[in-house]
Symmetry: C2
Subunit: 456 residues, 2 copies
């Protein structure tokens, strides 16, 4: 009987690793709305993206093919840590005294410690194939910067990273990790761009922001014909690269004869959630299984549950194409919760679209509940989660406790998208009672929503 | 043909995990000399150890049985991360342009991030079985404290850790990791012991030492009938628990039809080395393979290559039984190299004995060569190693480059006994040119050797 002799760790051999990414667009009942040029408000074309991305990725951004082959040069690097393990959380289940069976796909086994290398590696690969020798990017807390630094090292490319000044100063160890892989780090705002110089002239102690760091990375990439820019979430091709998570999880669950009743994933920009959920959404749309699929976002940045589905800019400065997405307004600045990767004003257009179509649900959870669940998880399953997936764990625990009440033997699936080895300061605050849950007044959202452009 | 289609990651299923530890004593040509009572200089008996350790571990310390069954309650916890992967370092081989094939057994997948939980888990288990509710220990940099905190959490036990004051202040994140698993941390010297109070009265800003922290942990354990003490290396039972590393590696290499020509492992107290090497030494003594087996120690603490094989104390304060081991003298204070886990004046009696018998070799490597090798490793294989196993990696690189010269296709095996996520400050120093190689004058050793007791 399913679930009764499950091993702790459900393994896939290298030979069983999926060799294609999945493009959910091919199976959606309605197509997602296109990105718009920020000036003309016409659908953005390949030329609009060419200064930033290589042609292969631009094609992946708009393709309607159901599957895209993963190149051999990417598979070789994936094999450094993939297939990633699927764990049965038996010891957590025992602690919760629940009849539910909880499975988690663990992405913290990657060199950078999160799911981000699933896309940084192909992004570096395609750029390298097209003769690009340098990638620029921004990073906040540093997970994405680490992943891109690792990926560019695999193809002998340069990597230049603008890190938000506050993080650059507060998190020296993340910076060191990126430098180990050969990346060059700049505190943002920097003296290297006109924008940065102007901001520093105004305020030499400027603490920076993700929006400013994006502007600097983009400006430096555009100025160098051998350089391109890389983005760690939000875009269609990024989510597609991440579907290897869900494809592997499907194969692993099939090995133990299980199908999920509930799938929960944390959502910031949407790449971890989309990566896990989209292959299961395909199965659901095909009538092969019927899981509830639930986004979990931080209560301090409730993009799906409290934002509006509107065309908005991807960055704070309003330089990117307009994307139709759930947004709190691109001027929205979330409170400083510890899950830095979930502090984004918008949501991936693909995740926004499937949510708008009613194919997935969403809930928001305050951070102290998340850390409480993470401590229970660490004490039983061993792994110390990154702050972002503590949200997914808290949602899984809620569901497991509901099963304890109802007696239902539900199968719960989630992704533990990274370890917390470089985020222990947040746990210290939680353990010592210094962590707060932020209230988010409705008028703060109303105010930020004023920054969303009104189209026609 | 062996080595030509090796997968990147050589997997063992849970069902293939060894269920016995290996006791090398059963196969040694001559028995290792016994521990001696520090007062009488007679062989130490079970009663001498009873206030510190549970009877099951005391029996394991002196057993001559070849194999000891791993209890089910330990296997259940091992399965959180074991069997650990054996990797083929293909990308490092390519960078070095060597015909050698390099394999590394990766122990950083454990929740605490090193091989230490292989022994902290059974130590907690046996204590729990005998009704003990609390374990005390010391920790320096924090790897051992983390491992014991994790292990005691698995059995619902208390864990009280004395951390060297300097590390307690400088490495707050390690402390947080231990607290996540529910341990209580004290800066040592502490106000909790007579010894600690006396030292603080002399100097309120005392930075502590491992020897002092051991004395405090032992004093608190002896004063509490429900508490025992746990040690993370050196002793026979600790090395035996670690043999699961080598037993798994043997099975994994057999899967790809390989036998090692050279085995290298870093040595501090000796548990990582013994754990990997002893099962291979058994095969060598049985004539089934003939690897060179080589210890790699830091040039700043060259216990085997420059120490003497003498009876000496295990701790700096001279409270423990006397053990015959390679020692630099228990008053030896190594320079502050970053591989904190290798800064030990002595060497496990079992490792010392096999070295003295000529069954294994030893070399010493300065730390900058180790970090240089680690950076190459991180850039190719992805994983950022802890400072301790950078020594093993440097030795593997030396051997691989010798193969490049000679054209030999040697099979090199090593253990990557932990990741460096909580040791990035050492990499920062290396990358920014702030790391030095310490000279170790012969007269410093001669001076410290004066602290070794002269027996009879």
């Amino acid at each position: 009987m399913a679930g009764h002799d499950t091993p702790k760790k459900i393994h896939l051999d290298e030979s069983e690793m999926p060799t294609q990414w999945y493009n959910v667009v091919a199976d959606l009942p309605t197509p997602p709305p296109p990105a718009l040029h920020p000036g003309t408000h016409e659908p953005a074309g390949p030329d609009d993206f060419a200064p930033l991305f290589p042609m292969a990725l631009i094609e992946q951004e708009v393709t309607t093919e159901r599957y895209v082959d993963i190149p051999g040069g990417v598979l070789d690097v994936y094999k450094l840590w993939r297939p990633s393990p699927l764990f049965r959380a038996k010891r957590l289940e025992e602690m919760l005294d629940t009849p539910a069976r909880i499975y988690y796909k663990y992405e913290g086994v990657s060199p950078a410690g999160s799911h981000k290398p699933n896309t940084s590696v192909p992004q570096a690969y395609y750029n390298h194939q097209e003769g690009i020798t340098k990638l620029t990017t921004e990073t906040g807390a540093g997970q994405w910067g680490s992943a891109l630094a690792f990926a560019t090292a695999q193809y002998g490319m340069e990597c230049e990273i603008w890190q938000v000044a506050a993080s650059y100063k507060q998190k020296p160890y993340r910076k060191t990790m990126m430098e180990i892989w050969g990346a060059t780090l700049h505190s943002s705002p920097s003296e290297l761009t006109e924008f940065g110089r102007a901001l520093l002239a105004e305020n030499p102690d400027h603490t920076g922001s993700l929006g400013i760091a994006i502007s600097e990375a983009v400006a430096m990439c555009v100025a160098d014909p051998n350089a391109r820019y890389a983005l760690g979430s939000v875009l269609n091709h990024v989510l597609m690269h991440q579907t290897i998570i869900g494809e592997e999880a499907l194969l692993q669950l099939a090995k133990v004869d299980e199908t999920p009743d509930v799938l929960v994933g944390c959502t910031g920009g949407g790449s971890n959630f989309g990566g896990l959920a989209f292959p299961f959404l395909r199965e659901k749309l095909a009538g092969k299984m019927d899981p509830i699929i639930r986004c979990v976002e931080p209560a301090a940045c409730p993009t799906l549950t409290k934002g509006e589905y509107r065309y908005d800019f991807g960055d704070s400065a309003g330089m990117t194409p307009l994307m139709k997405m759930h947004t709190l307004g691109h001027s929205f600045v979330p409170e400083p919760i510890h899950a830095g990767g979930l502090r984004y004003h918008g949501m991936a257009p693909l995740v926004s679209h499937v949510y708008n179509e009613g194919l997935v649900e969403a809930i928001a959870i305050p951070q102290r509940e998340c850390f409480a669940a993470a401590i229970d998880f660490a004490k039983t399953e061993g792994i110390v989660p990154a702050p972002e997936p503590t949200h997914a764990i808290a949602a899984a625990v809620r569901e497991a406790l509901a099963c304890k009440e109802s007696g239902e033997e539900k199968v719960i699936l989630t992704a533990l998208c990274g370890h917390g080895h470089l985020d222990l300061a947040s746990y210290e605050k939680y353990l010592h009672g210094d962590m707060v849950d932020y209230e988010l007044p409705d008028d703060a959202i109303a105010e930020a929503m004023k920054s969303v452009p009104v189209l026609n």
